[in-house]
């Protein structure tokens, strides 16, 4: 019997044979595009620091300057960062490293489709590959910053708890949230470019509203917001694992993880259903 596996049919409405058929197709799509995602990542990465003088030093320079700025604000009394037994640079570097995994990932994802618009409208390939590959450079930055953080730890003679080894587990919901929001924003940004500007503004706002550079406050508006802010929970959990050795918000973290997974799956499915509508509007 001649197989028809290489027959592709295009119709106005997609049908993949029911609820589970869609998931099967979605997974197949991502699996088949893993080589391409890797290629695109290698491409983005290898051109990233071309025609720059400082090159990869930028990945180190940005957090150092941010932390230094906050220290200066604290010293001059403009802003109080609270007191803690942990040296401030150590404390801030942990928060900032985790935060930039989210902020960088979100900005990268939301721009990923529009940046590739010239070939989205010319070549057919799984668009997921663009969003995935956009996360590659963010991950590399994350590792560079993790190394920088380790150096700051050593400099101040602070030793982390052994539970630091569990940090990657806590970062899974963070990545799921990033992709969950990022996949959706990438699609909408392809149609309305407001997203790109909006994302930068909102992320800047949340950077200050989330206890990234300061310890979580116990009262006031930010404290109440932090209770509902999944990012605050994740960053707090990472600090717990690094400095304390036990989670202070285990239930909150569990809720956030379930929320992150649901958000990611819903967003991925929506992306898959809508990606073929993007080319004509981009």
């Amino acid at each position: 019997m001649p197989s028809d596996h290489n027959l592709i049919v295009y119709r106005p409405e997609l049908s993949w044979g029911g609820f589970f058929g869609v998931w099967r197709e979605m997974i197949r799509n991502v699996v088949s595009s893993r080589g391409l995602s890797w290629r695109l990542f290698v491409r983005d990465f290898s051109v990233r620091y071309k025609q720059t003088l400082l090159g990869p030093a930028w990945a180190v320079l940005t957090p150092v300057i941010t932390v230094a700025a906050f220290m200066a604000l604290n010293q001059s009394g403009v802003m109080s960062l609270g007191t803690s037994s942990i040296p401030y640079p150590v404390f801030a570097m942990v928060g900032l490293t985790v935060w930039t995994l989210f902020s960088g990932g979100l900005i990268g994802a939301s721009r990923s489709l529009v940046q590739a618009s010239s070939f989205i409208s010319k070549i057919r390939f799984p668009r997921e590959a663009l969003v995935l590959s956009s996360q590659g450079t963010v991950l590399v930055d994350f590792f560079i910053r993790a190394v920088l953080t380790a150096i700051v730890f050593a400099w101040h003679g602070v030793a982390p708890q052994w539970t630091i080894l569990l940090v990657p587990v806590v970062l899974v919901p963070l990545v799921l949230i990033t992709l969950g929001i990022g996949l959706g924003l990438a699609l909408v940004n392809a149609v309305v470019r407001d997203i790109e500007n909006g994302v930068t503004v909102v992320i800047g706002l949340f950077f200050f509203l989330t206890p990234v550079m300061y310890p979580p406050p116990t009262e006031g508006f930010v404290a109440r917001l932090a209770a509902y802010n999944p990012l605050a929970v994740i960053i707090q959990s990472v600090r717990d694992l690094v400095f304390v050795g036990a989670l202070s918000q285990p239930i909150e973290l569990a809720v956030v993880t379930v929320f992150a997974l649901a958000l990611f799956l819903a967003s991925w499915r929506t992306f898959f259903m809508l990606e073929s509508l993007v080319a004509e509007r981009i």
Binding site: P2, D4, N6, L7, I8, V9, Y10, R11, P12, E13, L14, G35, L36, R39, L40, V42, R43, S46, V47, K50, Q51, A116, S118, F119, I120, S121, K122, I123, R124, F125, L187, V188, V191, V192, T270, M273, L274, S276, L277, A279, E280, R281
Partner: protein, 426 residues
């Protein structure tokens, strides 16, 4: 689609677009919201400010067949190709494609200017769906065919536009597709590469390995290369015999040229705009025949042959002082010659009722190729146009070699003489 000999089948395929970006954005968000909530898009109906870019197009393409898509700019050719390529989802109808599709739609799309040619081959190959092993295997062949030489390890931003296109074509051509979509790409690149890429496509077709859908404004290429033709006219397809469709397209083309998008760079090269609607209709061309010098109909000529155009006319009323014009154009509608009877010493014509006009060109002095010939009849002041005749095609087959593929149109009567010594001979 059970018949495995059919490579592509389009059934009543339609695609709509919004006229303005504002509506496109709004409808885009609307469609996304509806689809993600599980409602249908009702895509087969037009909303305000939408139009059908492609409407109810149906065709079948068998394996090893070449289908030509012709039509004016904006007639829907590229939109149709994009749907066949899976980039746009049809708004109505259905498309089935068997096997791997490669599109030479915009060559080099996805090239990164900072990366070397070699690195770009890997990226572009992956985007087109090749595995790493496959690309590695074909790397030498791709580089060799592209003919970019040692430039392969330089960033492509230093490439000339020709090299850029050659590399892009070479990657896509080595994809070994089952269906190849080609859109006007061969208009770029030098003559040698054009010939080389046509030859490669031709060989792929002859091997029965590939089916091609070929979009071009070059009627010579379309006529020579395609088995069948589909003429798109404002999104709707017409099929029929090749020569008839080409003639219809070329005839339409002249009249419709004023509707074409302004700023089209080619516009500057083509004929001065002649709008068929300006013709008063006092005169009618009943038939036009291209013959040898003795009145025998003929299609192929040699450069040294004589060509005689025989035109049968019907004047609705008595017309005095009519001036006839003869226009010869190349297949891209580039004007080669416009000749008016009054500058050739012909007396102004007086037409009444049935008339016959003979125009003789002797010798033709044209090189190999297809040419279009049309006529116009005007009043003595050249202010009003009585009639624009239809386009007629004739071909010249030149016995002399034409190594670069394109060495102009004009074959002068010339002789070569060598005089020894140059200045010494006083």
């Amino acid at each position: 689609m059970t018949d495995s000999l059919i490579a592509v089948r389009a059934a009543q395929v339609s695609k709509k677009f919004a006229r303005r970006l504002k509506h496109s954005v709004r409808y885009g968000l609307q469609d996304m919201a509806r689809t993600s909530l599980g409602f249908g898009r009702n895509s087969n109906r037009l909303r305000r400010e939408e139009f059908w870019a492609v409407r109810d197009v149906s065709f079948e393409l068998r394996r090893g067949e070449v289908l030509g898509l012709i039509g004016a700019n904006g007639s829907g050719k590229s939109t149709l190709l994009s749907m066949l390529n899976g980039i746009y989802r049809p708004d109505d109808g259905e498309i089935a494609v068997r096997g791997r599709v490669a599109a030479l739609i915009q060559i080099g799309a996805g090239f990164h200017p900072m990366l070397t040619g070699r690195e770009n081959i890997f990226v572009n190959g992956a985007i087109l769906g090749m595995s790493k092993a496959e690309i590695t295997n074909k790397l030498d062949a791709i580089v060799d065919f592209a003919g970019v030489g040692e430039f392969i390890d330089l960033p492509v931003k230093h490439y000339s536009s020709g090299m850029y296109v050659r590399l892009g074509f070479s990657i896509a051509a080595h994809l070994e597709p089952d269906v190849l979509l080609v859109d006007e790409v061969l208009a770029v690149g030098d003559a040698e590469f054009r010939a080389k890429s046509m030859e490669r496509m031709w060989r792929m077709v002859k091997d029965g390995a590939v089916s091609i859908i070929f979009v071009s404004h070059n009627m010579l290429a379309v006529e020579g290369f395609c088995d069948r033709i589909l003429l798109l006219d404002r999104g709707q397809a017409q099929s029929g015999p090749k020569s008839e469709l080409i003639a219809r397209y070329c005839g339409d083309h002249v009249g419709r040229r004023h509707e074409r998008i302004a700023g089209d760079a080619r516009e500057k090269l083509v004929a001065p705009i002649v709008d068929s609607s300006v013709a008063t209709g006092d005169l009618e061309v009943r038939s036009i025949r291209i013959t040898d010098g003795h009145g025998i109909e003929k299609e192929y000529f040699r450069p040294s042959d004589a060509l005689q155009v025989q035109i049968e006319l019907n004047a609705q009323r008595r017309l005095e002082g009519v001036i006839a014009s003869l226009v010869i154009e190349d297949p891209n509608r580039l004007v080669i010659s416009v000749e008016r009877s009054k500058y050739h010493g012909a007396p102004p014509f007086t037409f009444e009722g049935q008339e016959k006009l003979l125009i003789t060109i002797d010798p033709l002095n044209l090189k190999s190729g297809a040419y279009f010939l049309r006529t116009a009849f005007q009043d003595p002041t050249l202010e009003s146009v009585y009639c624009l005749g239809p386009s007629t095609i004739f071909r010249v087959a030149d016995e002399m070699p034409n190594p670069s593929g394109h060495e102009g149109f004009y074959r002068p009567n010339l002789s070569w003489k060598h005089e020894r010594g140059g200045e010494k001979s006083e």
